[in-house]
């Protein structure tokens, strides 16, 4: 199981990840990604493809997939 890691120093809230992963992410008041449920960014297996796409398409290169326990 993987977890989405957001490098907040790089993220500038373009919103692409929230469009690609609406099941996992919502936009906060300022357009930055927030976990839809209680801060948990664990990626369900069913969303692995979309998560990989979000990582590769983030214009700020602010997203990584990391092992969930890390």
């Amino acid at each position: 199981m993987n977890r989405l890691h957001i490098d907040w120093t790089a993220c500038d809230g373009r919103g692409l990840c929230t469009e690609l992963l609406p099941e996992l992410l919502v936009e906060d008041d300022w357009g930055y990604p927030a976990a839809r449920t209680g801060g948990d960014l664990t990626v369900p297996v069913a969303l692995a493809g979309e998560a990989r796409e979000a990582v590769s398409r983030c214009p700020a290169l602010a997203l990584r997939l990391v092992r969930a326990e890390g």
Partner: protein, 383 residues
């Protein structure tokens, strides 16, 4: 007070020189000694020292060690006092941890104002900017390597790859001074102070409504809150509450019998942290004081992370509205929502710590919240 004098109910760190030479211990012995003593980091987070030493040593590459005296917290003066009172112990501690982790490079990271008295020490000095976040460990790494002293993303820990890619240990100077004494007198001696779960002494900086604000006091964990305040000359009058753990800490009742320990503070969402204690007088409004601190913290953001850059000013503003009785429906719920929204969404724990302070104020001063919502202030009305 003269900020360089350490008042002690337990005089260990302030007992000056005359401790004799540092015993010749191996790296493994030093890590075992830290483990047996049960010493935790004195910079605020309270992480077991031996685990951090073991992690850096396990990297198996030449490491870098940074003695951290940045102390960006405005209400803290204990590291500055220690730099004056026991610089030799800090240098000894630095030597010990360097041996433990296999470090070739060591730095003492301290505010510019402290440098003149430290130049004679056999250690490379680096300047810690006067900013709240400059003491955060990844900010310290950035600063000693010539970059801006701002926190970095945590995907890769500095214990694996920090200064120049080397495994890096950042350790508070008080922690290092304790290690220098443990090396000489043993883990059992260290454990003779404090509690079984939280051994040893710590340095506290006491300010606010006390007769000698800024006093630095050494005491064992579990010390009565009243005894700490008495060591700073005692309260100037009746107290409303006490902030423990600094600007990222929490409010606790002004109960003299309350033990200052992680265990006793946990129910209030506070911890001793880096030993910062601020006494709030009965005539002051806790919401106003908390809003002032939250606004300071919002102004102290590094400016890198969107949720923090946007969220902290909004949260501080919302708490200020409540403090100044610019009330509108749902104000407390909005404070709560913003505190939860910023938590865990930054490169460092600055948003988390600020949210903790704000949520703690809402709990500790709930009667004040209710009064403010109906247009009254208990502190103003002398209740």
């Amino acid at each position: 007070m003269t900020t360089s004098s350490v008042v002690a109910s337990e005089s260990r760190l302030s007992s000056g020189s005359g401790h004799g030479p540092l015993p010749a211990l191996t790296g493994a012995e030093i890590i075992a000694m830290a483990r047996d003593a049960g010493i935790t980091g004195r910079g605020g987070a309270g992480f077991p020292v031996w685990r951090k030493l073991a992690a850096v040593a396990a990297a198996g590459r030449p490491a870098v060690v940074i003695a951290n005296a940045a102390e960006g917290e405005p209400a803290s003066g204990k590291d500055k006092a220690l730099l004056t009172a026991a610089p030799d112990l800090i240098v000894d501690g630095l030597e010990l941890v360097a041996r433990a982790v296999g470090a070739r490079t060591t730095y003492l990271y301290a505010p510019a104002g402290a440098h003149s008295s430290l130049r004679s020490l056999p250690v490379e000095l680096r300047t810690a900017p006067d900013a709240f976040v400059s003491g955060e460990e990844s900010a310290a790494v950035a600063a000693v390597t010539g970059r801006d002293a701002v926190p970095a993303d945590k995907r890769i820990r500095i214990t694996e790859s920090g200064a120049g890619g080397a495994p890096t240990l950042v350790q508070n100077v008080e922690t290092l001074a304790h290690l220098a004494l443990i090396a000489r007198y043993g883990p059992g001696w260290f454990r003779a102070a404090g509690t079984a779960d939280e051994p040893g002494t710590f340095l506290a900086t006491i300010s606010g409504a006390v007769r000698r604000p800024g006093a630095v006091v050494e005491a064992g964990y579990g010390v009565r809150l009243g005894d700490l305040i008495a060591a700073a000359g005692g309260p100037t009058g009746r107290l409303r509450a006490v902030l423990v753990g600094g600007y990222h800490g929490g409010w606790v009742p002004a109960d003299p019998d309350l033990p200052v320990s992680r265990a006793a503070m946990a129910r209030y969402g506070a911890s001793p942290g880096a030993g910062v204690v601020v006494a709030l007088p009965a005539g002051s409004c806790g919401l106003v004081e908390s809003a002032r601190i939250a606004s300071y913290l919002a102004g102290a953001v590094a400016g890198q992370c969107g949720p923090c850059v946007n969220g902290l000013p909004r949260m501080a503003q919302t708490l200020s509205d409540l403090a100044l009785r610019r009330v509108r429906p749902g104000l407390p719920a909005e404070v709560d929502r913003l505190a939860r929204l910023v938590t865990g969404r930054g490169a460092c724990r600055h948003p988390d710590g600020t949210a903790r302070l704000v949520l703690s104020a809402m709990r500790a001063f709930d009667t004040d919240v209710a009064a403010h919502l109906s247009g009254h202030c208990l502190a103003e009305e002398g209740r």
